[in-house]
Amino acid sequence: MKIALTADLHLTDREKHPGRFKSLENILDQCLQMEVSRLIIAGDLFDAKQTNFSDFENIVKQEKYSGLEIHLIPGNHDHELSAEKISAENVRIYSKAEWLNLEDDWPLLLVPFQKGKIMGEVLQDIMGQSPPEKWILIGHGDWYHSQNRSNIYEPGVYMPLTKKDVNLFGPKFVFLGHIHKQLMGPQVYYPGSPCALDISETGYRHFLIFDTHFSSVEARRIETDLIYFDEELLVFPLENEEELLLEQIKQIRDSWKVEKSDEHKVCARIKVTGYSSDRSGLRKIIKEGFSGISFYEDVDISEVSFSYDPEKNYLLKKTLLELDILDLRDKPDMPLKNHILSEALRLIFEE
């Protein structure tokens, strides 16, 4: 059996944020295409203080989606969501932790966000003395084991789930909503926000397909109108400044892994730092390098200074050679080469 999972749509009104509704429709359509009959939304379907749910209902009430069960878990933004607020028959809201038993399959425990509660307490409460041997946890909160989850939209720690909780209660899979960044296991998965809420949520957006039969989790791409990227370029005033800059841009574009047909959807915020011998021509070069995409705002070159000094350039070239052979050991607590280069630039070029 396949189950679709998503979270953090933060729906408001269609007029205000059409992209979010489009993402939802795309997920629903993909469910139909794949003949997935269950979609679980792990919290924050609606943005905080959203009281008008008609735009959402207009979508899910469509005839084509009538065979699709939509299970809603309230999150920290829509924790006041209750069954009486949604009239669609194919939508079920879980205001408290509840088991969802699937025929001949592992039971799913759906845990809505509960203010002031920690996941372990809720689990203990619902699991009682005899937890099932195999089960799946779906909730809304923080997987504390993963520290890399900062998001301006979701400050604070909500309903933390610790490794101890997982070890203690032993869910085979955990699917959580809350952080808008995708996390693909092991054991704990976040689908990420299906529609970027701001420029910090970059790249393609996905929802998850969990195949209970094969115990596999697949991330499915969501068709969105916009794909955000937030990039920083470092420019140095060497003779081949333009060439180096274009090479850097190419590397960035390659790292996006955006298909050619989707490039027009890319909206990037570009910030440039460093020193240039031709500051006035920078924007032009960058825009050429990023041709085919749109810019979130004008390319920011406010932190680029002019410099043309062969002696400093000589030192910079030597520095680049040293950096090339610098072995940073891929350690997470070691800085990026670009940051070292940026600092080296400052040391050499600062007046």
Partner: protein, 710 residues
């Protein structure tokens, strides 16, 4: 071929509306302050050089050109839009920093000024400062902390003294490790589950214990109730006289036993004193007989009389014999004694006879007395003598007789008592609902009652022990049935479980409290906060610490790398200068300017100049000679870069700060250069310099240009 500026043509350059001049070999451009002299120098630098070196160039809107000869066959034109600059015509030596032609060919005021107190500093450093961009290297290195400069990066680690940024980084690394360890522990140890689970367990056990406690209190109440009931029944039995019955029964038995023994004793006493009444009567009768005159013949009198008579006769016979045969006197004694004995015998014989005569007078009485005597002797087996015989026996039996009498009375009393007790016992039997029946059946009945009493007492004791073992104060007795039965073992087991769970909970809570304290300490928060807040702050602290650590690592690594590059550049500069000093390129400008020295070499930090005969330390030369040497070095390097050719030399009031005597020598020196093909363009605001040029350049290819007053 020498490089020469042939013409300068510029419009709207600062205060200068126009400047259009063809230049000669020696040129003095004279102007007061604010007449555009510096603008003009900057214009030349901007148009000719790609990079003006240490010169700060103000932006200009001027339009103009400079024509230079010596680069190509024709004049080379340098304007704002020229793509090629002078540097493009020369090649770098490839070692160290690229040479800066502007710095070599343009000399600013005071660069040649060596004051006396700087004499000791004239060395390789001074040469480097003049010929290369040592200042840049110094400036960059000054931005790098000393600790970082001495640090190295090897095998993914930064090594260096634990000071400054390195110390700060080490501290941050330690903090980061502590944070990671703490976060790991939170992840590993923190869960609401166990606390919640244990709390639930404790609540559950507590509920069960409360139920059992109620059951216990109820059990205590039940026991107490039973005890009371038994005691009440017991009291009723007591009131009915159970205890009295049991006591009296024993008493009755005792009395009966006593009665038996007393009766036995009485029989004995009665047997012993059976003749007492007879004696009493016999004595009374005998006394009466005696009172009636019945004499009781006392045979003693008879015997005494007989004995006296016999003794008298015997004594008289003996006296007579004595008197006759022995001594009359002795016979006399026997006569006296015999007489007295005869008298004694006669007296008693008289008394006996009188008694006998009286007895013969009361014969009936005597018969009676005889009968008494015979009875007496028959009863007692003793010889009856007289009343005394009776009295003696009487006295003998009197105590026994009265003892028997007393015992008899006593027995009677006991008997009465027994009867009384038995009657009472019968009543008690009746009150106890027991048919007293025959006295002989009382034993088993009393025995049963006794057993019953013992059993009741035992039951009460057992129940009281059970109650005591419950250890429930009477005020806590509970009459309401709790719906569960008190089980001591189960309660004990639950209490053990509760203690275990409480210990585990305490341990969990202590772990969490310890974690919480550590987190608060780590994030610098004193007051208690909820876990979500603490965890978020811990994460933020970790992120900030990591950022600070990475930022510092970035700064240190950049510093290490840049420092290494700078050090290498510095080393290469040293090598380059050292190599350069060894070349012949120095010879011409050095000899031309000094007129004496042919070679210059570096020995350690010292610059050694040599003429045909001797060698001298540069620092020991006069100021003028040192200025000549440094200018020669500058020109030599420039010539070297230009392929051994001479070039133009722009002096921007270079001698302004020299005293008048030295100015003369300097002017003469640069004019010597001009003679050797160098084009001299001297900018000055100084009348004395102008006079010196006018004086010494007269007759040479010399042009003086005065800038127009504004």
């Amino acid at each position: 071929m020498s490089l020469k500026i042939e013409k300068i043509d510029v419009k709207e350059l600062g205060p200068l509306d126009t400047f259009s001049e063809n230049l000669k070999q020696i040129n003095l451009i004279y102007g007061r302050n604010e007449q555009g002299k510096t603008y003009l120098v900057e214009f030349i630098l901007r148009r000719l050089f790609r990079y003006p070196g240490n010169f700060f160039l103000r932006p200009d809107q001027a339009s103009g050109k400079i024509w230079v000869s010596g680069l190509e066959d024709e004049l080379s034109e340098f304007s704002n839009t020229s793509s090629k600059k002078l540097e493009d015509h020369w090649e770098n030596c490839g070692l160290g920093l690229p040479e800066n032609m502007a710095r070599l060919l343009v000399v600013k005021g005071a660069e040649l000024d060596f004051e006396e107190n700087k004499r000791a500093g004239i060395s390789k450093a001074a040469v480097k400062a003049s010929l290369s961009n040592e200042k840049l290297l110094d400036k960059i290195q000054e931005r790098i902390q000393k600790t970082i400069r001495s640090a190295v990066y090897e095998n993914g680690q930064i090594f260096g003294e634990n000071r400054g940024n390195l110390k700060e980084r080490n501290n941050l690394m330690e903090k980061l490790n502590n944070l990671d360890e703490l976060i790991g522990r939170v992840d590993r140890d923190y869960s609401g589950g166990p606390v919640y689970k244990l709390q639930e367990k404790i609540n559950n056990i507590t509920e069960q214990l409360e139920l059992l406690q109620h059951a216990k209190r109820y059990s205590a109440w039940s026991l107490h109730k039973k005890i009371c009931e038994i005691k009440r029944n017991f009291d009723q039995l007591k009131e009915a006289g159970l205890d009295k019955l049991l006591t009296d029964y024993d008493l009755i038995n005792f009395l009966n036993s006593e009665l038996f023994s007393k009766q036995k004793k009485l029989k004995e006493l009665q047997s012993e004193s059976a003749e007492y009444p007879w004696l009493e009567t016999a004595i009374r009768e005998y006394q009466r007989l005696l009172n009636q005159g019945v004499v009781q013949i006392k045979n003693v009198r008879l015997y005494l009389s007989a004995a006296g008579l016999l003794a008298g006769l015997l004594s008289c016979g003996i006296g007579a014999g004595m008197s006759m045969f022995v001594e009359p006197m002795a016979g006399m004694v026997f006569y006296v004694f015999g007489f007295l004995s005869l008298l004694f015998g006669i007296i008693f014989g008289f008394l006996y006879i009188r008694q006998y005569l009286g007895a013969r007078k009361n014969f009936a009485g005597n018969l009676e007395a005889e009968r008494i005597r015979q009875t007496f002797e028959a009863k007692f087996g003793k010889k009856f003598s007289d009343l005394a015989s009776l009295q003696t026996e009487f006295i003998k039996l009197q105590a026994t007789y009265y003892s028997a009498k007393a015992l008899e009375e006593d027995i009677e009393e006991v008997r009465k008592k027994v009867v009384e007790k038995e009657n009472a016992a019968r009543q008690i039997f009746s009150r106890l609902g027991i048919d007293p029946g025959d006295r002989s059946g009382w034993g088993s009945k009393v025995s049963k009652l006794h057993s019953m009493k013992k059993n009741l007492e035992k039951r009460v004791t057992d129940l009281e022990l059970d109650l005591a073992s419950l250890d429930v104060d009477e005020s806590e007795y509970l009459a309401q049935e709790p719906g569960a039965e008190y089980e001591k073992d189960k309660m004990q087991e639950l209490q053990n479980q509760l203690q275990q769970a409480e210990r585990e909970l305490l341990k969990e809570k202590q772990t969490l409290e310890f974690l919480e304290r550590e987190i608060r300490s780590m994030i610098g928060v004193r007051e208690t906060r909820d876990w979500e807040d603490l965890l978020e702050n811990l994460r933020i602290t970790r992120a900030e610490t990591l950022q600070d650590y990475c930022s510092l690592s970035t700064s240190i690594l950049a510093g290490i790398i840049v420092n290494k590059v700078v050090e290498e550049a510095r080393k290469q500069e040293d090598e380059k200068i050292s190599d350069y000093l060894k070349t012949d390129m120095m010879r011409d400008p050095l000899f031309n300017l000094t007129g004496r020295y042919e070679r210059i070499s570096l020995e350690g930090e010292k610059l050694i100049l040599s003429d045909a005969y001797d060698s001298f330390d540069l620092s020991e030369l006069s100021t003028g000679a040192r200025e000549q040497v440094l200018l020669a070095l500058r020109l030599g390097l420039a010539a070297n870069l230009m392929g051994k050719n001479s070039a133009f030399l722009i002096l921007d009031d270079a001698f302004q700060h020299s005293d008048w005597k030295r100015r003369e020598g300097l002017v003469q020196n640069i004019l010597k250069l001009a003679e050797n093909g160098w084009q001299i363009i001297y900018f000055s605001m100084d009348d004395h310099i102008m006079q010196l040029f006018d004086q010494y350049a007269e007759g040479l290819d010399y042009k003086k240009i005065k800038l127009p007053a504004g």
